[in-house]
């Protein structure tokens, strides 16, 4: 008698995630979405103020290579109590640098449940879904959800206006009398 063939049970694929806190609240993000993690202190001297930002959660930009990242205050974005940020995530595929309290740990998730349809406002843009970890539920953020197209347009305009003023000022200063 032939032995029964071993059943092929496909193990669920896992995704590496980083658990982090903003305003004390725990979130998760795919580690593939994070290009770099830096301390907030290291931004000193690298960041520039956005003086007329109409996007309350963004007050600074950071220039990295050819690209400008907008520094998003995570507590303002999520409407959480203000907390001192110690780290910043530079995110991939979006010009966002996210201020966070700190990293809790790195782990993996095998199931991501879409946000229930009952949640029907901005949070649908904020989160890819929810995952259950250690008998707890953690929202998994969508990297592109921190800045909407409208917010990016407003910020780009503010930065360009500021750059134009700086150039005008430099030209006036250098003009012959």
């Amino acid at each position: 008698m032939q032995p029964a063939p071993a059943s092929k049970v496909r193990a669920p694929r896992a995704e590496q995630i980083i658990l982090f806190r903003v305003g004390g609240q725990l979130f998760a993000i795919s580690s593939a979405s994070v290009q770099e993690v830096r301390s907030v202190d290291s931004l000193t001297g690298m960041s520039q103020e956005v003086p007329r930002s109409t996007v309350r959660k963004v007050r600074h930009t950071v220039r990295r290579g050819d690209s400008t990242h907008y520094v998003v205050n995570g507590t303002v974005h999520f409407g959480l109590p203000a907390a001192a940020a110690s780290l910043v995530f530079f995110l991939r595929h979006t010009p966002t640098a996210l201020l966070i309290d700190g990293i809790e740990k790195m782990t993996s998730m095998t199931q991501l449940q879409g946000l229930p349809q009952a949640f029907c406002h901005e949070e649908r843009d904020w989160y890819r879904g929810l995952t259950a970890l250690d008998q707890s539920v953690v929202p998994v953020v969508r990297p592109e959800g921190f800045l909407s197209v409208e917010e990016l347009t407003l910020l780009d305009t503010a930065v360009q206006e500021e750059a134009g003023k700086s150039q005008d000022g430099a030209a006036e200063a250098g003009a012959p009398e």
Binding site: G114, P116, F119, H121, W126, S136, V138, P139
Partner: protein
């Protein structure tokens, strides 16, 4: 009992919110569970408190008492997990209730034009006239949402 009367009877679950009772069609009820931890995270859907983790499923918690009786429940005895539908899509929602639930059989009186949208109909039981709730109108969902159809099925993540 005549055949006609039998056909008109339906099963309902009576739920208690403070001093008042309401009804849901029994075929909408998934289960009645003891209070468990509500996981909260930032969002802007005011009617929702957070989510429950129930047998690996994540179920949104919606306290409908404020809308129905004018104040939030001070004591929660159970969560009544009910199903609501958007087209062919079904989703569970957990409703906190303050007392025992009861399965009854009664005749439903259809709603009238003057009834609130959350009223699916009426029934008479134990001398009370009880509202039968329309969960789709009572709990938040895509009808109030902006156009965003991001996945609502449990999915295996893409590595």
């Amino acid at each position: 009992m005549s055949i006609v009367t039998e056909i008109a009877l339906e099963s309902f679950v009576l739920l208690r919110l403070g001093e008042r009772r309401f009804a849901l069609k029994a075929n909408q009820i998934a289960e009645l569970v003891a209070p468990s931890r509500v996981f909260r995270f930032p969002h802007h859907t005011a009617a929702l408190e957070g989510v429950l983790l129930r047998r690996g499923r994540i179920v949104p918690v919606c306290d409908v008492s404020e809308r129905l009786v004018g104040k939030k429940l001070t004591m929660r005895r159970f969560y009544l997990i009910a199903n609501r539908f958007w087209g062919s899509h079904r989703e569970s929602v957990a409703l906190p209730v303050s007392g025992d639930c009861e399965l009854i059989t009664a005749e439903m009186t259809p709603r009238s034009e003057s009834d609130s949208p959350h009223v699916a109909g009426w029934l008479s039981h134990g001398g009370d006239v009880i509202e039968i709730l329309n969960l789709e109108a009572l709990t938040p969902g895509p009808h109030a949402a902006r156009s965003n159809t991001a996945g609502f099925q449990p999915v295996e993540v893409r590595a």
